[in-house]
């Protein structure tokens, strides 16, 4: 097991390095000069040249790469050209908001996706299945931006059920003391259910927007995983022994499909972490996605680079965790014991 973990971490490190290289090269190939944009029309060419030089933008590519890797190894993601702020600090400050939103969206996706998927699989080919599949197609083809607008229009603007797209808490509310950065959790830890409730209310709309889209993927995946188990010997045997279909579904099929479902949930979560740029923008959610959006508008490649690397590392880390979880969920899998 330890050997497996080490090997897995080793390959992850290589993946991260590859990611850094790709991100570095892509951001260097993209056109645009944030230095000129930052300084504006009144700047003299000397000012622009000085700013470019201070960011090392004039050095040869290999020198830039070496400097970048050295800085990165020290945990330094550079300074934003457009604002002069430290990219790492900025991203870390926004990370909890993004994580809170992604987790809430995952909960939404699971709460909707798992029951609908199970229902569709259990009634394969019948109306419930068709309905489930239609939902999956609609859910995955609806742009989050549009869905968000519809939800804001209905639940906030028309019926006033939920607060508007103005961030994580009502204006003037003091955020709970910082422990995890997740407002709902921190407020509960601080024994402040009122603030936790507020934070939860503000979380619902963006989480629904993101989660509904993701739930479509969960439906498809739960359905196909369960259907794949339906033809297996143990299901036939259980049925032959007269075990009620429902019990077979939940006890045997579900447990065996769990591995696949868990893998895909991991993928869904990484998608949610990286894919909420537009949703954060729409809901004025102060997460990393919003920072990335502003960076695109300002041609700020330093920030985009940092964003891509942080999201990439999160993605890789999630995948490692999922791999490690395999062994816990399914005892048949002996991690690292692949000697036979």
């Amino acid at each position: 097991m330890t050997r497996y973990v080490l090997r897995r971490l080793g390959t992850s490190a290589l993946t991260v390095l590859g990611l850094v290289l790709v991100v570095f090269l892509v951001t260097r190939i993209l056109p645009g000069d944030a230095a000129a944009a930052r300084l504006g029309p009144e700047a003299t060419p000397e000012d622009v040249a000085a700013l470019r030089a201070s960011y090392g933008l004039d050095d040869p590519l290999l020198v830039q790469l070496r400097d970048y890797l050295v800085r990165l190894a020290q945990g330094d993601l550079g300074r934003a050209v457009s604002t002069g702020r430290d990219v790492g600090t900025e991203l870390v400050a926004r990370l909890p908001a993004t994580i809170e939103l992604a987790l809430a969206a995952l909960v939404v996706a699971v709460l909707i996706g798992v029951p609908v998927g199970v229902l569709a699989a259990a009634h394969r080919g019948r109306p419930a299945d068709v309905a489930g599949r239609v939902y999956a197609v609609l859910g995955s083809s609806m742009a989050p931006f549009w869905l968000g607008l519809l939800l804001i229009f209905g639940l906030f603007s028309t019926w006033q059920l939920l607060p508007g797209p103005i961030g994580r808490l009502p204006v003037g509310t003091t955020p709970p003391p910082d422990v995890t950065g997740l407002y709902v959790l921190d407020a509960l830890l601080a024994g402040d259910p009122a603030t936790a409730g507020q934070a939860l209310r503000y979380l619902v709309l963006p989480a629904l927007t993101l989660g509904i889209g993701a739930s479509a993927a969960v439906v498809k995946m739960v359905r196909s995983a369960l259907i794949a188990t339906a033809g297996t010997g143990y299901v036939r045997t259980a049925r032959a022994f007269g075990v009620p279909p429902r019990a077979v579904l939940w006890r045997d099929q579900m447990r065996n499909a769990m591995l696949q479902i868990l893998t895909s949930l991991g993928l869904v979560l990484s998608f949610l972490l990286g894919g909420n740029v537009i949703v954060e923008q729409l809901f004025s959610w102060p997460g990393m996605g919003r920072l990335a959006y502003d960076a695109v508008r300002a041609n700020d490649l330093e920030v985009l680079q940092g964003y891509a690397i942080v999201i990439g590392i999160l993605y890789i880390a999630l995948n490692v965790l999922i791999d490690l979880a395999y062994g816990l969920i399914d005892p048949r899998i002996r991690l690292g014991g692949a000697r036979a």
Partner: protein, 544 residues
């Protein structure tokens, strides 16, 4: 002279009463800081801080280095200048005049030749941290504007103050500013926030070898000399401003604080205003603003503006190197349709490079009227009877420009000119215009201080960084330099008229319209203050 746009002010009487009540109350309050005694002022209804959302977020807090319009507003309330302009009040709106009164300076004298201004500071001035504010801080701030991290270093030299040695402090309460020529523009600049006062001690305490003017510290922090201090600032979420208890004139702060909420999507801003979560919003899509005129609880405030939307050319490349081609395009612009259909009436059609609402505007230079026949004739005269093709660029983020571009394209097609439309990201647009790489583009400009010579120089002067047209005319440069250094009104008007004529004849860009200064507020909100640079001065905002 003043032209009013259609607007609705159903609550103006109530609002005026509320303002009066609020002013009376703050006057009675004397030196009390409103934030310390929020419950005491409930009678005026203004006890809760206001929540507003502007057309951008506040990118940083340095009054000399900001980039977004909202940051100009925000930083304007974190520094105080030596002098400030006086205001004319009309209903909910207070408009800056060209008269000035003392702010940090109690009084000032100008030498007979107009070249030396001596400011006498008030007694007992202090920064927000309680440390005294002296003439040395003023000198340091002026020097920072010339040498420091910001891009405002072009400002003072244009008004004749180019060297850091031109600003001195003979003693703790006296500041002497020497200029190489006398210009009414200098006072206008001295009343603007980039020349507000920073604390030298704070700056020096936070300076580093690489950053001698503490650019990094002032990006995120302030030791305010202005009406507010920063209670909290999150560049992606909000800036919370609280009254500065060391401000020299507490009675000039009409509210108990202002929160600027950064709502990135303009339509969401409109929803939040309707639901009462915002007291004031800017940058709402104009079709929605139009609809809001009829909505209960909301008031649309719209005033004429000097902001100029223009259609720029690259005058160094064919076909726009020929003034007749540029004149032809100018006659093909659907001026009134743009105002009616794209801006829903929240604009004035073009009246020239110096708009009708700016001093020394001249009607003599020439008019801006759509005349496709004349346009076609001019093209033929220029040897292009069959037209030509080109590309018109605009900012992706600007929905109004996108719609305007379509109308311009359609009209140009009528005279045989084929135009491709191409949106660019803001940064890309800035970069490409800086490089003078675009043949035709829509852009807008707001001249600081509402000064005609500043306006013309920065749009058409050959050395101006914001002249993206490559147009260079030494005669015009000389005329503008003479104008900015002329102090008598008749002389200014005459030189200005001549310069307007030159620019009209050469038409390096087409002035298209002046978008109005437009806000939507909850009923009862008043004291919207528009200074000479059309910035909102937050301390005068009240909610009845």
């Amino acid at each position: 002279m003043k032209r009013h746009l259609p607007r609705r002010r159903r609550t103006s009487v109530a609002a005026a009463a509320a303002v009066a009540a609020a002013l009376a109350l703050t006057a009675c309050g004397g030196g009390d800081t409103p934030s310390d005694d929020a419950s005491g002022s409930t009678a005026a209804g203004g006890s809760e801080p206001l929540v507003i959302s502007l057309d951008s977020s506040v990118d940083l807090l340095d009054a000399q280095a900001w980039r977004t319009p909202a940051a100009m507003v925000a930083t304007g309330s974190l520094v105080e200048q030596l002098i400030e302009q006086t205001y004319d009040t009309d209903g909910l709106v207070r408009t800056g005049t060209t008269e000035f009164e003392g702010a940090l300076a109690e009084s000032w004298d100008v030498s007979e030749d107009g070249l030396t201004t001596t400011f006498h500071l008030r007694d007992g001035l202090a920064f927000a941290d309680g440390t005294p504010l002296t003439a040395q801080d003023v000198v340091w701030s002026y020097q920072r504007s010339l040498l420091g991290p910001g891009y405002v270093k072009a400002l003072l030299p244009f008004a004749g103050v180019a060297s850091p040695d031109d600003v001195t402090a003979p003693d703790d309460s006296t500041v002497v500013v020497t200029s190489s020529f006398a210009s009414p523009l200098l006072a206008k600049m001295e009343a603007m926030q980039p020349l507000g006062v920073f604390s030298q001690a704070t700056g020096e305490a936070n300076a580093t070898d690489d950053d001698p003017w503490a650019g990094a510290w002032f990006r995120e922090n302030a030791n305010s000399s202005g009406p507010y201090t920063v209670a909290s600032y999150d560049p992606t979420q909000q800036l919370v401003l609280e009254p500065n208890e060391h401000y020299y004139a507490p009675d000039k702060i009409a509210n108990t604080g202002v929160t600027i909420q950064f709502v990135s999507d303009p339509s969401q801003r409109a929803l939040l205003l309707r639901s009462g979560e915002l007291d004031l919003a800017q940058g709402i899509p104009l079709d929605q603003v139009k609809a809001m005129e009829d909505e209960d609880g909301l008031t649309v405030v719209s005033e004429p503006s000097n902001r100029l939307e223009y259609l720029g050319f690259n005058t160094s490349e064919a076909p726009f190197d020929d003034a007749r081609v540029r004149q032809a395009v100018a006659r093909a612009v659907p001026y009134q349709d743009l105002v009616d259909q794209v801006l829903y009436g929240y604009a004035n059609a073009s009246t020239g490079v110096v708009p009708a609402s700016m001093e020394t505007h001249s009607d003599e230079a020439g008019t801006f009227e759509e005349d496709l026949d004349a346009a076609a004739d001019l093209l033929a005269e220029a040897g292009l009877p069959d037209g030509f093709s080109s590309t018109l660029y605009y900012k992706q983020s600007n929905a109004v420009e996108a719609a305007a571009a379509v109308l311009v394209q359609a009209n140009l097609k009528e005279i045989g000119v084929d135009i491709d439309l191409k949106p660019l990201t803001d940064a890309d647009f800035t970069q490409q215009t800086n490089a003078r790489a675009l043949p035709m583009y829509l852009n807008n400009f707001l001249g600081w201080g509402a000064d005609p010579f500043y306006q013309m120089y920065y749009l058409a002067g050959s050395a101006a960084g914001t002249n993206f047209t490559s147009y260079a005319n030494p005669d015009l440069d000389a005329l503008l330099q003479e104008g900015v250094a002329t102090t008598d009104e008749a002389g200014r008007a005459e030189i200005s008229a001549q310069a307007q004529q030159v620019i009209y004849d050469d038409m390096p860009f087409v002035p298209v319209y002046n978008p109005a200064w437009t806000f939507v507020v909850r009923d009862g909100v008043s004291g919207l203050t528009k200074d000479n640079t059309e910035q909102l001065r937050l301390q005068y905002l009240t909610r009845g």
